[in-house]
Assembly symmetry: C3
């Protein structure tokens, strides 16, 4: 897409300092940008690259504008400007419409005329695909599942029976929405399966990463609210609720029946216990273990730092002895609980 800098400035909400008629057609890094490209500076670490950039324009903050060697698109949040500019310059392709001849769609499924069902895909009985839905190659949409307007399953996605997905949701390859939750009861040493009778309800404008799994509820529904962004290989247990506009990085696991608030930011590889509640506006750093509920907004962390292995091997037995150390120290100093 070709845009003048004037058009781009107005589209992204930036203040232009430079030639409004100059045309750009792509976004690039400060280092990789050529004459037709717009670059951006949001991470101060890359500020030293500004002087040498060949970009036609740079999206940057007021503090950096004076140092810009070319046209400047000035705004308070240049990273947001980058997101908007990239979307304008590289809009997503419209998928085709109709049903690919190699797909299989049940006679009782309702597929909007503007929807697309790709090669080798399956749409089972009673499923509903709203306008402009795109079901990519080899995806499976189970019985009675419903996909809202403009939702897109990229490829090899599984939507299980009865799951409801909102509008403009993007689901990446290998994701599984609505598999049975892990419900088992012990009968004298043998496990008895508990039927998982709830479903999954996903709101609007959600993104679900590759190979992420969201289990259906045992009796009620697992819920992912509007605007939630889930990275790859996340596991969401049955009966969880994830609040609107929460973002979770890859490889995080959330055990069953946990509720996470709105606008939380959860790092990668975090483990969150079941049956707990995390309030709104909590940030949890990567690799943390969350054993208990969190009732105060703020930043939380856990874990031990990387060490040279020889040092770590000396420390390992001490990690087991820390309560003994604490007690001995308390006897020496007479303080502590």
């Amino acid at each position: 897409m070709r845009l003048s800098l004037g058009e781009l400035a107005s589209a992204i909400g930036a203040d232009l300092r430079g030639d409004a008629t100059r045309v750009v057609d792509r976004i690039a890094t400060l280092q990789g940008a050529g004459p037709g490209a717009v670059a951006f500076l949001s991470n101060r670490r890359y500020r030293h690259l500004l002087a040498g950039t060949r970009a036609a324009a740079v999206i940057l903050s007021p503090a950096d504008a004076a140092a810009c060697p070319t046209a400047a698109l000035v705004m308070a949040n240049p990273y947001l400007g980058y997101a908007r500019a990239a979307t304008r310059l590289s809009p997503p392709l419209r998928p085709p419409q109709g049903v690919h001849p190699s797909a299989w769609v049940s006679d009782s499924a309702r597929v909007d005329a503007s929807a697309w069902v790709g090669p080798q895909a399956v749409v089972e009985a009673g499923a509903e695909l709203a306008a402009e839905v795109s079901v990519g190659p080899s995806c499976v949409v189970g019985q009675g599942a419903r996909l809202g307007v403009g939702t897109r399953l990229v490829a090899n996605v599984t939507i299980c029976w009865g799951v409801t997905i909102g509008a403009r949701v993007l689901v990446h390859p290998g994701a599984v929405i609505g598999a049975d939750g892990f419900g088992i009861a012990n009968d004298g040493g043998v496990w008895v399966k508990i039927p998982q009778l709830g479903s999954v309800v996903v709101g609007d404008d959600v993104e679900i990463g590759a190979n992420t799994t969201i289990d259906r509820g045992a009796l009620e529904d697992t819920v992912v609210e509007d605007g939630v962004k889930l990275d790859n290989q996340i596991q969401v247990g049955h009966n969880c609720r994830i609040g609107a506009h929460t973002a979770i990085a890859g490889c995080t696991g959330i055990a069953g029946s946990t509720r996470i608030g709105r606008r939380c930011m959860i790092g990668g590889g975090v483990g969150i216990n079941g049956h707990i509640e995390i309030c709104d506006d909590v940030q949890i750093s990567a690799r943390s273990a969350v054993h208990q509920s969190i009732s105060e907004p703020g930043k939380y962390s856990s874990g031990t730092p990387l060490q040279p292995q020889a040092q770590w091997l000396r420390n390992v037995p001490r990690y087991r002895q820390i309560d003994d150390m604490y007690k001995r120290l308390k006897r020496l100093t007479g303080t502590g609980e």
Copy 2:
């Protein structure tokens, strides 16, 4: 399914206190239950909801029976009663029989007349599907693989060549059984692949979660014994053996050649080293790291607790210094090894 409370009590092994002729047709939570529903109380946390329930009957323990405002189905393990009642009231649907026209089944595969091969599925040469097997949409059953009576692959499951699966096994979407183990030998800085010539043998009544992976053995077989329950996104390395009736929660990884005993309960996000042995009846809490063999039954844990980030940042360097702290403390007190 509609049942009288008398029929239900006898089906689940409970003692009925109330009208045996009253009819129920579903299971629900204490809060969500209406007049036709059976609820249950197993977690004492929810005891305050008992008085207000609108359920027709509640499955609960003898200790809670007196407080039940409606018919009571009394048994020692109400959670097991819930599992049994849910299964009776919502029995799994029988899949259809035959081969879907969009599936591909090799001429040399042996498919029982009562089995089902769903849309876009693949059954390769020499594979065997026993009675009442169900191969869901887009599943792949590799060459010579064998599925026992009543086993069900939900959708997008991959069973690799030569894998053997027992009876009544349930495999959720995206699971991969029998991919090559991670076997490599170093040749002057370059890795040489070791062919993975063993297979995977899965027993009866096993459940395997979404996107879980179980690798084939290098020379002998990886074995998952009867009644094992695996949650989502678990990784089982080559040559492992998981003992009967062991249950493992999501995101746990088990490195190669490790043996896990019977009736173990392993939490989510646990990491288990390779070439070790864990005895029967071990319980490992979520997020633990298991570096060495365990020879005593019991409960084990590891990991540091969540902290406000400001506190954690002060603690981080100290985690590296704990052996120095130990030694200084020992000099002060003259005790310790």
Copy 3:
């Protein structure tokens, strides 16, 4: 495959002590080997099994050769000898050629006559499959993706649009190469997606495990260099670069824009932060958390050890207090920073 011990010794680079005309046809463990099998001894733990083996020959080190009760194939690295011998005795089967009638291949895709596209597979517009490529059942090769000579996708693999894969790459089931990276910008509490415009470039002789995910770059490419070996369920974030001949075990997650050097060995379940750099020849033990760049080759670790749960519960509050303990100890001893 049948080989004489003379042929085998020369194929694997071993020194034969025994009858060069004796024929073997398979590889086995010391315990499992019968008269036609070759065994190997590389892990000293299994040395006690040497005397009782029924193998026709054993691959072992010079130090163990004298104790060998049968023909000895002597070499400095017997594990490498095992890899070579297994490959010679059990060479991978040649896949068929052509396009399976149930596959769908776009008219504009370029498929070499010696390539194979299996049942239910999809090859989209503009994709290129070089000689001897094998696309297994239900795999999806996206628009414009390119697969080099001899590359094999096992089953249910997704290669997204525009991804480039080198020669002799092996991709296991459920792997996803080229899904969108996790790029989002915050606009007053609502997340805005950043189009992921880069791609993934995978070198030659790479192996990618089951359900592993490698995201496409935001603006430039995510790169996996030659000879890299990735186990199952690994997550590689956008814009990462993994250096040649690095091996990574299962369940490890690497956040975006991180560079990992050559010949690194990274254990299972490791978490690696984004925007950092790990130099060549680093070894990181399983379950470690890597928060910062590593500039010195060597071995690194983190994490606390497994403990009986009762002990751990006493230790847990102390892990939060370690900085206080450090400061009190410093006051007592007058040392430390």
